[in-house]
């Protein structure tokens, strides 16, 4: 007969951010466990709230499935001796399987006959196996773990009760001195202790005790509550998905409510209002039907409507205190000037080996100037960009950013406008922090883009130069994200600047500073590898495969938009039949490139027509290639190389490169050398796994 099974882990309040993932793990691990143990069941459901993770298995069979398994033994020809008797090998095999030679039968696999025995594995009683579920509970991984009391288990939060039921029977086990039972607990304040008679009662008993165990249902209740408030008040409550997701995991029984604050606070920057509501208090901001922010907010209480007015009043008081602080900061901040804050930057360390933020800003200015020259900005544009670089960090010293750190840059823009800065310059203060995530929005303006890469390159080169290289999951300064940002900006802007040129600017700058740097070659190698990995990451996002990636970034990440274009083109060519002939020719050259050196090809040393022809073809192509390569025309640059293919094949078919005559050999190697340099300027085609049919 089948029975229902329930496991519930009762915890002190779990961090909201861990709950969805932990629930998912519990479900997947349980399914895998049942499968591995061959326990048939009807269906499986998981539940989660801040205080519990649970899994409910319906119709679990009382016995494991009994199975017949084939065990494969040695080949038949060594299983019997010349007399037709079973050999030691065969007998040993059957004994190992708990069988006798009478059980042997043979079967052919790929033309060879082997001996087999059939094994019968009797399904055990499930009840004996269920206590092992302890290991599943202990194996759940959380982003951050802790210990408590004298326990050694590391878990997100302390385990306070455990429910484990097989039908009406308790499955006995113990974790961190907590024994399993059939007792669970309702809502912390509104609920009671619940004695479960059967797993099937779980969801409804808890609902009676003000716990909605299904996270989807809590989410629906919140959305429902928000809709009701919207309709009753004739306004809009935009539901931010991430906030909704967090809020549903902060409560066991959600009740949405609406509060308000003084209209006067609406004069604060809207980002300040929204951050105060969303980030600090987990409220949903409210707007009018036409999208104007209103002096209202929607919160979600963990409980029912009992004394809701008190809860609303308390929440209003908290928000008012925050907004009154913000108002105070705004007024105080605007009494000062940008220069006042600039001077204060001298007092704050950016990183202990890399000096103050003020030092950092000086470096950003230097890099910015160099980049504006490379791009060829006119004086007016250049002036704006340098100004933006100069004041890019001033807002870090304001009270507002000190309190609302997530508004760095945004506050800077608002204040800069107030202090009379050009809107482009002010906007760049906000934009230079972009992209905030690897795939986040890029700076919209040219000025913002330049300051953004200047700031990021300074951080990356600076950190790596003093030995702060990201390892594994350790990347405290977010160097990977910033490097990705740099490459994306360069590519999107289609600047005619290679990454290596930029790195040279920054590393040369660091050489001139009074900073103790790691060994120069080591830093250069680390920077190269670091950026190649970021470039690979971005190219993979564009569905370029690793071998093509290696081919295009082998020497340098280069001008990244061009690198992308080459990678895309080569990805097509690698399975293009008509390219086979060309690629074979180019790879033939490259295969000899390690042996080749010298650049002086002398026509008088040519002994055959084919080598003279190849050289003249090279000279014909060289200039065009350079032009297209310079203009980042991936298709036409490759076409130039294609024009060499016939001559290359003919060269190899008709000449011995390693000729006995030293002069002839040197001349041919020099020819190979200049050719392979040309090809490598495009890509190291040797690294590509060609996919044409051979």
């Amino acid at each position: 007969m089948a029975r229902d099974v329930l496991f519930e882990i009762g915890l002190e309040e779990l961090p909201a951010r861990f709950i969805d993932d932990a629930e998912q793990q519990l479900l997947i691990k349980t399914e895998a466990w049942l499968k591995e143990l061959r326990i048939p069941f009807g269906s499986i459901t998981s539940f989660a709230t801040p205080r519990r993770l649970a899994v409910y298995i319906q119709e679990m069979e009382e016995f494991q499935t009994t199975i017949e398994e084939e065990a494969k033994g040695p080949a038949a020809k060594i299983a019997k001796d010349e007399n037709g008797d079973w050999t030691k090998a065969a007998i040993g095999f059957t004994r190992g399987q708990g069988k006798t030679p009478e059980d042997i039968y043979t079967k052919e696999i790929k033309g060879i006959s082997y001996i087999f025995v059939k094994k019968h594995i009797e399904g055990k009683s499930v009840q004996e196996l269920l206590p092992d579920f302890k290991a599943i509970i202990e194996s759940i991984q959380f982003g951050k773990n802790m210990r408590w009391a004298t326990e050694t288990l590391r878990y997100a939060r302390p385990i306070r009760w455990l429910v484990a039921l097989f039908g009406s029977e308790v499955i006995p086990f113990e974790i961190t001195n907590v024994k399993t039972s059939n007792i669970t607990y309702g809502h912390r304040f509104l609920g009671k202790e619940i004695h479960l008679a059967a797993p099937s009662e779980y969801e409804s008993s808890l609902l009676d005790n003000y716990v909605v165990v299904n996270p989807k249902k809590r989410e629906e209740m919140i959305i429902e509550g928000i809709k009701t408030l919207e309709e009753a008040n004739n306004l809009l409550i935009p539901v931010d998905a991430a906030l909704l997701n967090e809020v549903k995991n902060l409560v066991e029984y959600p009740t949405a409510f609406m509060g308000s604050f003084e209209e006067d606070y609406l004069k604060l920057p809207s980002e300040v209002l929204i951050t105060s509501m969303k980030e600090h208090q987990r409220y949903f901001p409210v707007t009018s039907k036409d999208g104007q922010l209103l002096a209202r907010f929607v919160g979600v209480r963990n409980g029912d409507i009992h004394e809701l007015a008190t809860v609303i009043r308390g929440n209003e008081k908290v928000l008012r205190a925050r907004l009154s602080d913000a108002e105070f900061f705004l007024e105080e901040d605007l009494k000062q000037s940008i220069d006042f804050y600039q001077e204060r930057l001298e007092r704050v360390v950016f990183q202990k080996n890399l000096g103050t933020i003020s030092d950092k800003v000086k470096r950003i200015i230097h890099i910015t100037e160099k980049v504006t020259e490379l791009i060829g900005l006119d004086d007016a544009q250049k002036e704006k960009t340098v100004r933006a670089a100069t004041i890019s960090k001033f807002d870090l010293m304001t009270n507002m950013v000190n309190e609302f750190t997530e508004l760095q840059g945004i506050v800077g823009e608002k204040y800069a406008v107030h202090f009379g800065e050009d809107p482009i310059v002010a906007g760049a203060i906000r934009e230079h922090y972009l992209p905030k995530q690897a795939n986040g929005a890029l700076p919209e303006s040219l000025v913002g883009s330049i300051v953004s890469i200047a700031d990021k390159l300074d951080t990356i080169v600076g950190c790596i130069s003093v030995g702060l290289v990201p390892t594994g999951s350790q990347d405290p300064y977010g160097l990977r994200r910033q490097a990705t940002g740099v490459l994306r900006i360069i590519a999107e802007r289609e600047w005619d600047i290679s990454l290596e040129t930029l790195l040279d600017i920054v590393t040369s700058l660091y050489q001139t500073l009074d900073i103790e740097l790691e060994n120069q070659d080591k830093v250069a190698a680390e920077l190269k590898e670091f950026f190649q990995l970021r470039a690979s990451y971005l190219l993979k996002e564009l569905h370029v495969e690793q071998d093509v990636i290696n081919a295009v970034v082998h020497r340098a990440v280069g001008k990244f938009d061009y690198t992308i274009a080459k990678a895309k083109l080569l990805s097509e060519k690698r399975s293009d039949e008509s390219f086979k002939h060309i690629q074979e020719a180019l790879v033939r050259v490259l295969n000899l490139s390690d042996k080749a050196d010298g650049v002086n090809v002398r026509s008088e040393q040519f002994k055959t027509e084919s080598e003279a022809a190849l050289y003249s073809q090279y000279n014909l192509v060289r200039e065009n290639f350079d032009t297209y390569n310079k203009h980042k025309n991936a298709v036409k640059a490759l076409a130039c190389l294609e024009e060499l293919a016939d001559s290359i094949h003919s060269f190899f078919d008709n000449n011995m490169v390693m000729a006995d005559d030293e002069d002839i050999r040197a001349n041919r190697l020099a020819l190979i050398n200049i050719l392979s340099s040309l090809i490598k300027e495009y890509a190291d085609l040797r690294l590509i796994e060609w996919k044409q049919h051979f």
Partner: protein, 292 residues
């Protein structure tokens, strides 16, 4: 309920849970955690349950008595239990009921908040407790103290007395809070708030403070080398407060700043290690007491 009654209520409640009621520690400090009754005693295997009010000085938060929410010196009610009891959340919630906060009439939540104090090499996991959206308590399971792993784990509950009182008494301005019948925080603390702010930001003798820092630091080190943990720790606290005064005045240059913090941290770390070693020499006396 006035502040005095709140403190009496909390003392009675935690005394009933077998906490030793201590008085505030008599050296200036930025938080109740820094009292040796917490920081040192939470180290090592000996059980330790204690509760006390701690006046906490934060020179940089001084606002001349003009800001309704910020103070040079506020009060914390600190509870420390080692090992952390299984019903600690309930014990805490019971204390709120005794303060007149009926959980059924409010929204009380435990919202993730992890605590770290690099100066003391200390870190913990836990929550801030929200009462109708307002943070009233820090609730932390220490995981590391003075660079040493906390084992057994200590739980620390820190009530912000003024915060909680502003809710209980429904006051917007901290200076309007009633300390006992008719006497307000303004009556007691306005003048010291103003004067300490003025001293900190304008009048303090910077040169003397720098000298004091060095002297305290030397004394901490030499005292510790003699295995005298508690006096050494007092000097660490003095270093820390002196540093806070200098920092609030904005006279510590950047490079120096990092240097000062790491000097204090190194001292705190070696004191933590020495403390455990000294307790071990004594045979962890509190451990035996428990067994008897």
């Amino acid at each position: 309920m006035n502040i005095q009654e709140m403190i009496l209520t909390l003392q009675k409640h935690w005394s009933d849970q077998n906490c030793i009621l201590m008085q505030a520690y008599d050296v200036e400090k930025g938080a109740g955690t820094m009292s040796p009754m917490t920081l040192l005693r939470s180290l090592g295997p000996e059980p330790w349950n204690v509760a006390y009010v701690e006046p906490s000085r934060r020179p940089a938060d001084g606002r001349y008595g003009e800001n309704p929410n910020r103070l040079y010196q506020h009060h914390q009610f600190q509870v420390i239990m080692k090992p952390s009891p299984a019903n600690i959340q309930q014990l805490y919630l019971d204390s709120l009921v005794k303060l007149g906060i009926n959980p059924l009439e409010h929204d009380i939540r435990f919202v993730e908040d992890n605590w770290e104090n690099p100066t003391l090499g200390a870190a913990g996991l836990g929550w801030e407790v929200w009462l109708d959206g307002m943070e009233i308590t820090q609730f932390t399971y220490f995981q590391q103290i003075g660079g040493l792993e906390a084992n057994p784990v200590t739980v620390e509950i820190t009530y912000g007395i003024e915060r909680l009182a502003s809710y209980i008494q429904d006051k917007e301005n901290v200076f309007d809070l009633e300390w006992n019948n008719g006497v307000t925080v303004r009556d007691i603390f306005y003048q010291p708030e103003f004067e300490h702010s003025k001293y900190t930001f304008e009048e303090s003798n910077t040169e003397m403070l720098f000298q004091l820092f060095s002297m305290y630091e030397k004394e901490a080190e030499s005292t510790m080398n003699k295995g005298l943990v508690f006096p050494a720790y007092d000097y660490v606290l003095k270093c820390s407060h002196t540093f806070n005064l200098l920092d609030a005045k904005g006279v510590i240059s950047v490079t120096e700043r990092t240097g000062y913090i790491s000097r204090i941290r190194n001292l705190a770390r070696s004191i933590a290690k020495t403390y455990v070693a000294e307790r071990e020499k004594l045979g962890f006396p509190m451990l035996e007491k428990e067994e008897n």
